[in-house]
Amino acid sequence: MAGKTLYDKLWESHVVREEADGTCLLYIDRHLMHEVTSPQAFEGLRLAVRKAWRADSIVANPDHNTPTNHWDRGIEDPISRLQVETLDANIKDFGALVYFPFKHANQGIIHVIGPENGTTLPGMTVVCGDSHTSTHGAFGALAHGIGTSEVEHVLATQTLVAKRSKRMLVKVEGSLSAGVTAKDVALAIIGKIGTAGGTGYAIEFGGSAIRALSMEGRMTLCNMAIEAGARAGIVAPDEKTFDYLKGKTYAPKGADWDKAVAYWKTLASDADAKFDAVVELDAAKIEPQVTWGTSPEQVLAVGGRVPNPAREADAQKRAGIERALQYMGLKADTPITEIKIDKVFIGSCTNSRIEDLRAAAAVAKGKQKAASVKQVLIVPGSGIVKRQAEAEGLDKVFIEAGFEWREPGCSMCLAMNADRLAAGERCASTSNRNFEGRQGAGGRTHLVSPEMAAAAAIAGHFVDIRSF
């Protein structure tokens, strides 16, 4: 019998029951929550007079609607405020293991606070009403986004009704060049397999280049699995994982820690495990990436030129390129490095961790943002990240460069708060989606790494970080 993949091990260790058609009840260990996708779920529980099955599985905090400046003024938009207050009230009524309300010292983006407080652990099933829940797969957890009906289902039953995904191995071997980051690896993978390439699959990331990534890098990579269409991305846990977790507030302690690590060490795909698909990339060939269109798969190496639809034979693809160029206000064949930007956003659940901020600060140190760049927002992923950055003096580097140092939150990744692009504005962004209107109606997003975003802020246009 062939060995098992990590995904299968995680899946099988959580099956409560299985129907003849393969539909399973899957036990959920960790339920992350934010204010946007949970109110209707709690409302459903109330209407049906149901309780939360296991409140101690819940880790919650508001992040999408919270402002990133002027916290003394509270949340000025009344509709946003109501949504955040509704989460406060729901957690008060139903309970939670961890709740960081707005302005709490540890509040932040839910996908940043879960790991940094040790509430995401290897071997867990983790869900959240948020597609970027795939982030937590970096710890060897089975983690994926769910809809609000499923949020209610997990609240009421601690299970999900689900079917097993197919398994894909994305193997990246070799060493990344200086200036090439986990973000570039993620975008290069999406460029190769497309935004639907991972549909129906759980992706395990493996190979020497993945093993060499820090936990922050692995989170960036797994975070973007959903942009390749895969609900879940996973990296097998190793010593880096254990070192990251050791001593975290909710990580196991004492004898439990030793027992946990012994178990976690079994969480790897067997050498003879069979995958339904295998994709291989050579790390040395991956260059800094910049998206040019309105889908993350519309991505190029920084040395490339905006595609010319005339050279696309497929009519539907040609129409897609034309539509994207029109929306993005770009001419075919323009070198990426000649694209001028109006704003820069460094933050989001993809790239707002301490390592991301250090990388951006290293680029910005002693330099000034270009006069043509209207705004550079640096939004740390959590209060803990913010304090760490300030202890290292990164905030001063940013402020001296003319960047804005903000309070933590999702901010301009999806622009539900006041941080957004105006129509026609072009942004170098470390977030995860360049969809039409994502960062503000009519806004134009180019996805890049923190280093590339900081360099663009200084140059006023995209530059190759390797020669910056």
């Binding site: 009421a156 439990d256 539509r323």
Partner: protein, 212 residues
């Protein structure tokens, strides 16, 4: 949830691939704490030429006339014909809520994004995967024929065009059962509460650090 049995529905063709849930329902409308009322804002940025805000009365907003949903011949459509990877991106269930609230009960496409696909079933919306060839044919017929309707029958898992040609689609028995009967999935799951509790006890012994 409204049960779904069969439907004779007017078809509206949305001819673009990778339609994401941000396009289906833009973020500003996600501030609502209700499940209903999203229909008027479905495809807001493609449908209106002004910027939509929650609570806006849409009856007098300026329309983008070329957008399919604004064309007279597609008013009252209940079947949305779409391209590859429909519903990609954000997990927001507000997307199927908006689609259902607008009046669509069926979406036919060559492929769907996973989370969106699952969310549809929870809201009485039937997502049907058809081959690229069939979808191409449906687009051609729909654009060529005013008042083009399809009969979608969940019991027999078939879609039939006006000429009587038909194709069969897949659905898991569990989803079919829930959709045909409009069942509350939570109620079904809670029938297995003892099994969940038994699993939980074993799980807690094996990995006590997962609890509390």
């Amino acid at each position: 949830m409204k049960p779904f049995t069969y439907l004779d529905g007017l078809v509206c063709p949305l001819d673009r691939a990778n339609v994401d849930t941000d396009a289906i329902i833009p973020k500003q409308f996600l501030k609502s704490i209700k499940r209903s009322g999203f229909g008027p804002y479905l495809f807001d940025e493609w449908r209106y030429s002004d910027v939509g805000e929650p609570g806006m009365d849409c009856t007098h907003r300026p329309l983008k006339k070329d957008f399919v949903l604004n064309q007279k011949r597609y008013q009252g459509a209940q079947v949305l014909l779409a391209r590859d990877n429909f519903g990609c991106g954000s997990s927001r269930e507000h997307a199927p809520w908006a689609i259902e609230d607008y009046g669509f009960r069926v979406i036919i496409a060559p492929s769907f994004a996973d989370i969106f696909f699952g969310n549809c079933y929870k809201n009485g919306v039937l997502p049907i995967v058809a081959s690229a060839e069939i979808v191409d044919q449906l687009f051609r017929e729909c654009e060529a024929t005013k008042g083009y309707t399809l009969r979608v029958d969940l019991e027999t898992q078939t879609v039939r065009n006006p000429a009587g040609e038909w194709f069969q689609f897949d659905i898991t028995p569990h989803r079919k059962h829930c959709l045909l009967n409009g069942l509350d999935e939570i109620g079904l799951t809670l029938q297995h509460a003892d099994e969940i509790k038994a699993f939980e006890r074993k799980h807690k012994v094996a990995q006590p650090w997962l609890f509390g």
